[in-house]
């Protein structure tokens, strides 16, 4: 199966947009976090698609996959910190909604 690179990029763009929109509209912090993951993975997909395209053109193509691996690693670290923060929030407010973290403003 040979999916054209454009299609992959469109897919990643769609995923990214979904992640961005989800980040903006969802209220549950965990869902919001998942939306971020969606954005990161959209980027990963784009990296890999681009890398494949470069490989097909005979250009060096190592950077894309390497970047993706790093992203996955970092995403794990981020998730660790993020979940810890969500727990801390829940401990204080008994809620994991973003509205629970909207005390400061103005």
């Amino acid at each position: 199966m040979n999916v054209p690179t454009e299609h992959l990029l469109y897919l990643s763009a769609g995923l990214f947009a979904l992640g961005v929109l989800g980040f903006m509209v969802r209220r549950n912090v965990i869902v919001v976090l998942m939306c971020v993951e969606l954005m990161l993975n959209a980027a990963n997909l784009a990296f890999l698609a681009a890398s494949r395209q470069h490989a097909l053109e005979g250009k060096p193509a190592l950077q894309g996959p390497v970047f993706a691996i790093f992203v996955i690693t970092v995403a794990a670290a981020e998730a660790a910190v993020g979940l810890a923060l969500i727990i801390a929030l829940y401990r204080l407010k008994q809620s994991a909604e973003t509205d629970a973290a909207a005390e400061m403003k103005g």
Binding site: G19, F23, M39, A42, H54, L62, V74, V81, A88, A101
Partner: protein, 485 residues
């Protein structure tokens, strides 16, 4: 590329370039290790200071020791006199933040080791950002800086505001990181490269003009703008700065911003000259947003957060000038270095003193500062100095930075923006003066409610004296700083 090649990448030059980072990393590991043993505060403090000092010395060596390693690790990281100077700025900002944190948490932060380890991690990230010649390296640096800061921001996890600050910073930071990654992917897809140097080639530059690449660059820029708090990516700043523990705020305000601008100045290749006026416009709007936002505040910490936004705007004007083609070689880099150096000393000092005052009780509102000149004359006078420096009044470092940055704008024929910029800094003085008014010209309404001042720790005193001295030294005898940069 095989494993042998990988090993060969770590030659003596690369080690010399990375030594300042390694010193910090070693310190970090050791701090974590000694936490296992009941060795007490002194050892940990020694380790932190020693690793920061070692890093500073190594940076100093790079700066003054003749030839710099240049590009290492297959051209993904650069060590030049500029990055060395940035490195010193980062070390200084970390050091000040750490010094101010020494007594800050006395009651409610048991994980002091972790705190210090996280703090030591941030300058490594900053240095990676400043030296990055590859978007991947920059990303690693960015995360190495950001993740510890997320944790640090929420470090007082029993306080809702601290947690809220951490969470907001984290979520929006991750959101911005997503922008960065997707932008990088788009750039990679169009040009086939992530290396800034390759992107500077004529062929790559032409490819960068394509719409998809431009979108990618814009997304990268948006994420960096987020880090340095540029309009409209600045909205998190007041909340996070206010909620985070004040020493962490100091670190965020100074170090993060410096690292972001260090990267912006070295990644100018990404931005075509046609973007200059847009960037200048964004800069001016940022200054307006920061200054007017600050004008409405009564909490000094939050006010300083907004003021930080305005300062980012000022620096961005210099970036715009550099994009537009500053006829003075390296003038823009020098301007941003000097500006940040002065800003680090000033803002760190200001936040640090607020940290000290917080311990006297409660939030640092303008109301609580009333009559402080009578209770704590030295703190008041130092705070005044910092306010004047933030306002860019001569004889302080702030003036020098402001002068240089506006020079870049004027030289690059962005005079109109510069004029709007200076007029906005009149608005800025409007709120800096309010602090001075509270300190010197008003008396507290209820004398009885004022808690007795608690003595400042030696670390705080030392940091404040150094900051004040730096502010004055850069303001009165700026020669040395200009030579260094």
């Amino acid at each position: 590329m095989n494993a042998q090649d990988l090993l060969q990448m770590f030659d003596a030059n690369a080690l010399r370039a990375l030594a300042p980072l390694i010193a910090l990393a070693l310190g970090l590991v050791l701090v974590l290790l000694v936490g296992v043993f009941p060795l007490g505060r002194a050892v940990r403090a020694t380790l932190v200071v020693a690793s920061l000092a070692a890093s500073a010395v190594l940076h100093g060596n790079l700066l003054l020791g003749g030839e710099t390693p240049g590009k290492v690790l297959a051209g993904t990281f650069e060590s030049s006199s500029t990055t060395a100077m940035w490195g010193l700025v980062f070390v200084a900002s970390t050091l000040f933040a750490w010094l101010y944190s020494v007594r800050y948490y006395e009651e409610d932060a048991p994980f002091k080791n972790e705190h210090d380890a996280l703090m030591l991690a941030t300058p490594i990230g900053m240095m990676l950002m400043a030296g990055a010649r590859d978007l991947l390296v920059f990303f690693i640096g960015l995360e190495l800086l950001s993740i510890p800061l997320y944790a640090l921001a929420a470090f007082r996890r029993d306080r809702a505001r601290s947690v809220e600050a951490g969470l907001k910073y984290f979520l929006l930071g991750a959101f911005a990181a997503g922008f960065f990654l997707y932008g990088s992917a788009l750039v990679y897809a169009t040009t086939g490269s992530l290396s800034l140097d390759t992107l500077a080639d004529p062929a790559a530059r032409a490819a960068l003009g394509q719409p998809m690449a431009l979108v990618g660059v814009a997304l990268i820029a948006a994420s960096v703008f987020f880090k340095v708090s540029v309009f409209p990516f600045h909205l998190w700043v007041p909340d996070v700065y206010e909620g985070a523990p004040t020493p962490v705020t100091a670190l965020m305000a100074t170090g993060t911003k410096a690292a972001g601008f260090a990267f912006l100045m070295s990644a100018l290749v990404l931005l075509p000259a046609s973007t200059a006026s847009t960037v200048a416009l964004i800069a001016v709007i940022t200054m307006a947003a920061g200054n007017f936002g600050a004008l409405a505040q009564t909490d000094v910490k939050r006010m300083l957060a907004y003021s930080g936004i305005a300062h980012a705007g000022t620096l961005l004007l210099g970036v715009a000038g550099a994009i537009h083609g500053d006829p003075s070689n390296g003038g823009a880099v020098q301007a941003s270095l000097v500006y940040m150096a002065a800003y680090v000393a000033t803002a760190a000092g200001a936040f640090g003193l607020l940290a000290l005052l917080e311990r006297d009780g409660g939030p640092t509102t303008l109301e609580s500062l009333k009559g402080l000149a009578q209770r704590r004359p030295w703190v008041a006078s130092a705070l005044t100095l910092f306010m004047l420096s933030l306002g860019g009044i001569p004889a302080t470092g702030g003036f020098l930075g402001k002068y240089l940055v506006f020079s870049v704008a004027v030289r690059s024929e962005l005079t109109g923006f510069a004029i709007v910029g200076v007029l906005l800094s009149v608005v800025a003085l409007g709120y800096y003066l309010r602090v001075i008014i509270a300190l010197y010209m008003q008396s507290p309404e209820h004398d009885a409610n004022i808690p007795a001042p608690r003595p400042a720790s030696a670390a705080t005193t030392l940091a404040s004296i150094v900051c004040a001295a730096l502010v004055l030294a850069t303001g009165v005898l700026p020669g040395w700083l200009l030579e260094l940069t």
